[in-house]
């Protein structure tokens, strides 16, 4: 079915405009720039300073290379129907070898910002560098399936051949990585290897040396203050709006570095930046107040969709040093009891200011179809119920309480564990506090401490039989709407399989084995409905096992200054696609 659709698209877009521009559908914006307003600046903010301009060493969630990658990729997802359509590709891929080989024609006439043509070499070089473990690229894992590499080959200057080790529903997404100039990185890599690549494009590199294929290229960087991007002069050659005008409309995009989210809200309310993420009811109230008293002219829409993130508590199954705890954490009744302890209602009210929802699955609530499939398959939800929690704990053998009111086992040992989260994240600190305080009510002693993020992550991702934590409260973001289970989360042995990560990477339970199997099965299933059904089975297995206790998710709200035009139509706005495409944004 999917193949048919892409073929149809290929007929309309692919062949007719093979060597001409990609036309951005007018349905992608609610606000057509009919007056062809051009120029101006989109003013954004970022909370931490940028660390590098090098796409191969960058590891931050929000980075300069990241921002330069917008407006690239062989395929792009259509927010109307989640389908991938050819973008830098000239047409749909030719699929063969049991859905494992993809031959892609590249759109001709595309140029990097320095005027060099974008060709197959750029994709091949980029792939090579990302997959060199000496470089240590963050994207390394994305070029592997089940531990086997995906290979990229140049057939001719404008033809690429991708070979996958097995079919993947995410193939088009995987192939849509951003190409970086072979004449810059390829040259360095061939001459100096990984080390030469890593030395390139630091923050001190003059902006004039930074070259990109996407919408934006760096114009200037001021440490700790602001990075200004200007439009790539050659990008408009192959990106046109529905009326044939070159994109983007904007001249520049600036990213201001602010101390924290409060500062960026302040800047937004002061009209100094154009849009800001609304974290909670407080932010909404502030914005609404500013709009109502006339000091800010802005668009505000609350509760657009659930957030595409999760917050959870994971228990460490690998505690050889403390067999009692290991046994406890491996006991499914204990984990279900913990889910019963999590007062998600209070968490939404207290930590999220009332705007959010309870979550019970690894699948983000925004992927509603998948959630529905899971519920249909009978995935359980262990809701807040302290009586039930007490009952389950009694089954494990915790019936007596000591003088302080904590449950003790036969030997008099208190039922307690340490729970950490990253310091500085107020929402998580509150979630942890609420969890600990509720646990106390049933007699479980939770020692909750916020610690440094890096330390926390290194504990979480550590491998071995005796890993250095009891329980961690953290969140995940990312993931796709095609197959919304994490490749590095669900299968045993992957680095975010946080509850059980022994040296050999083997599953500890049959449910894990089942989940791992279902994960790969779903990942290689190209049919959407079938894939969701498999996902439903996975959610059921996961729900019953409760390896990770999911807590709550906030809501996604949209706010932007009214000087901006070109946002998505209301039905396309959500946490996954955001509020707009920068290319179609213009200043009114």
């Amino acid at each position: 079915m999917k193949k048919a659709l892409t073929l149809a698209l290929a007929l309309t877009v692919g062949t007719a405009a093979a060597q001409s521009a990609f036309v951005w559908p007018s349905a992608w914006t609610a606000d057509q720039n009919t007056g062809n307003k051009r120029g101006g600046e989109l003013r954004l903010s970022a909370i931490s300073d940028f660390k590098t301009m090098n796409p191969f060493t960058s590891s931050e969630a929000d980075s300069i290379p990241d921002r330069m990658e917008s407006g690239t990729g062989l395929f792009t997802q259509d927010p109307r129907n989640d389908e991938f359509i050819p973008y830098m590709a000239a047409g749909a891929p030719v699929v063969s070898n049991n859905n494992k080989r993809f031959v892609v024609k590249i759109r001709q006439g595309m140029k990097f910002s320095d005027g060099q043509a974008i060709t197959a070499d750029d994709w091949v070089t980029t792939w090579k560098i990302h997959t060199d473990d000496k470089v240590g690229s963050n994207s390394y894992d994305t070029f592997f399936l089940v531990g086997k590499p995906i290979t990229v080959k140049k057939l001719d200057n404008y033809t690429l051949q991708f070979d996958f080790p097995q079919p993947s529903a995410s193939a088009l997404s995987i192939m849509s990585y951003a190409p970086w100039p072979d004449h810059v990185f390829g040259k360095a890599y061939r001459e100096g290897g990984a080390d030469a690549v890593k030395k390139m494009w630091g923050l001190a590199t003059p902006a004039s040396q930074i070259i990109g294929a996407g919408t934006w290229i760096v114009d200037s960087y001021r440490a700790g203050e602001r990075t200004v991007f200007k439009k790539n002069p050659n990008w408009g050659d192959w990106n046109k709006d529905s009326r044939g005008q070159e994109l983007p409309y904007l001249n520049t995009m600036s990213v201001r570095i602010v101390a924290d989210a409060n500062a960026s809200l302040a800047a937004f309310l002061a009209g100094q930046i154009d849009t800001v993420g609304m974290r909670n009811a407080d932010d909404l109230a502030q914005t609404k107040k500013a709009i109502d008293n006339g000091s800010l002219k802005a668009f505000l829409k609350a509760n657009v969709s659930p957030q595409a993130t999760s917050q959870w508590i994971t228990f460490n199954w690998n505690k050889a040093g403390d067999p009692a705890k290991q046994k406890l954490f491996r006991d499914v009744r204990f984990r279900r009891a913990m889910s019963h302890i999590a007062n998600r209602q209070a968490m939404v009210q207290l930590a999220l200011g009332g705007l959010g929802s309870e979550t019970y699955f690894s699948t983000y609530p925004i992927f509603k179809q998948q959630i529905d499939a899971g519920l249909a398959a009978g995935a359980p939800q262990y809701k807040y119920d302290l009586a039930q929690a007490s009952k389950l704990l009694a089954q494990i053998g915790y019936t007596k309480k000591n003088a302080q009111g904590y449950l003790v086992d036969k030997s008099g040992k208190v039922l307690e564990f340490n729970l950490s989260t990253n310091a500085g994240n107020t929402v998580r600190e509150q979630l942890g506090r609420i969890f600990a305080d509720e646990a106390k009510k049933v007699g479980v002693k939770v020692n909750f401490t916020p610690i440094d993020f890096n330390t926390l992550v290194s504990q979480l991702t550590s491998k071995g039989e005796n890993r250095p934590f009891d329980a961690i409260l953290l969140g995940l973001s990312g993931g796709s709407n095609i197959w919304s289970f994490g490749s590095n989360v669900v299968p045993c042995g992957t680095n975010l399989h946080s509850y059980n990560n022994p040296t050999d990477g083997k599953c500890a339970t049959s449910q894990e084995q089942l989940m791992t199997k279902l994960y790969y099965q779903g990942d290689s299933e190209l049919n959407d409905a079938k894939r969701r059904a498999i996902g439903g089975q996975l959610m059921k297995a996961e729900g019953e096992l409760q390896p990770v206790i999911y807590l709550v998710g906030g809501n996604f709200h949209v706010a932007f200054n009214e000087r901006l035009g070109g946002e998505f139509p209301a039905n396309l706005m959500n946490a996954y696609y955001g509020q707009r495409l920068n290319a179609l944004t213009f200043i009114k």
Partner: protein, 327 residues
């Protein structure tokens, strides 16, 4: 004069050396070594780690390491590598140190601009209503932690902004269109951003200096030579400004050097509140990321600047106050 200058500078060397030893060994005390955070960073390859280990001699005895660190610093201006930025520390901190210095400089100027007139006023109109009012007000301010004062000021600025629409910057160091400005515009833009934090700092600190100046003025005014000058028929104005002022104030002003360490530290809190791209916000980040070379680098550089500043202050003091022997 020149030998005095030289000797004063030479005298700062042992202080600097000891400071560097202290900083180095404090960092040695920190759990793990310089590379522990790097080992957790997947972007740093084992080869790179090994190279770093060699460069900084981390496999050697701490004392030897210290000398390597010093050698790198003195002869190559190499303060090590920032792990979170993957760049030489010096490149990362240079703009931050400069930014902080702008703030401290403006603060210092304002500090004296506020404290001197108030102190002189207090001395000349001793125990008048105005003197008492100023005293009480400054006393009140003395109790405010600078960051708390800043929060309150921001509150009022926000109120003012909603009411008048006046765009008073309360965040950062430059405006959005900074890069397209002329040099003069840039100067005023930065000043505009600096003025509120600097004023807050200056006002919250001014109480101490105002009282010192007031006391000093009073003491000089009561001294015999001023009495003699008055007796000679010198006007009140001349007596205050020419005779008293010079003797009472100049040494205090020239002693600016000793003020610097607390000024730099005090500015830190304000930098955090105003999201000013200075030293402290970055040190806090570095602390979170265990970016030890970065912390050490900042500390070393600011210490060097301060010791030099102190030396310059002493020299300045010697210039304005002939009582301090030159030689």
């Amino acid at each position: 004069m020149i030998p005095f200058l030289l000797r004063r500078l030479v005298q700062s060397i042992p202080t600097l050396l000891l400071a560097s030893i202290l900083i180095f060994f404090v960092i040695q005390l920190a759990p793990g070594d310089f590379l522990t955070p790097a080992k957790l960073n997947p972007n740093i390859s084992p080869e790179q780690l090994a190279a770093l280990q060699r460069n900084f001699g981390l496999d050697r005895h701490p004392i030897e390491q210290y000398f390597l660190w010093m050698r790198n610093m003195l002869f190559h201006f190499d303060l090590g590598l920032s792990f979170s930025y993957q760049q030489p520390v010096l490149d990362v901190i240079k703009p931050r140190v400069a930014n902080s210095m702008y703030l401290v400089l403006l603060y210092t100027v304002l500090f004296y601009l506020i404290a001197i007139p108030l102190g002189v006023f207090g001395a000349v109109r001793q125990n008048s209503l105005g003197d008492k009012a100023v005293n009480v007000f400054l006393y009140f301010l003395l109790g405010f932690p600078s960051f708390f004062l800043a929060l309150i000021v921001i509150y009022f600025i926000l109120q003012l902004r909603t009411k008048t629409g006046l765009d008073i910057p309360i965040n950062g160091m430059t405006s959005n269109d900074f890069d397209s400005m002329t040099a003069v515009q840039k100067f005023f833009d930065v000043t505009k951003h600096l003025i509120i934090p600097a004023v807050i700092l200056a006002v919250s600190d001014a109480a101490g200096l105002t009282r010192v100046i007031r006391g000093q003025m009073l003491e000089v005014m009561r001294s015999d030579y001023i009495r003699t000058a008055r007796a000679k028929g010198v006007t009140e104005r001349t007596a205050i400004w020419k005779h008293t002022f010079r003797n009472a104030i100049l040494p205090i002003v020239a002693n600016v050097g000793s003020l610097l360490p607390s000024a730099v530290a005090g500015a830190g809190f304000i930098e955090v509140v105003f999201a000013y791209p200075g030293i402290t916000p970055m040190i806090l980040d570095a602390l979170n990321a265990q970016d030890l070379y970065l912390i050490a680098g900042f500390t070393v550089i600011t210490t060097v600047l301060l010791v030099i500043g102190n030396a310059l202050g002493d020299i300045l003091l010697a210039v304005v106050d002939p009582r301090i022997k030159v030689g």
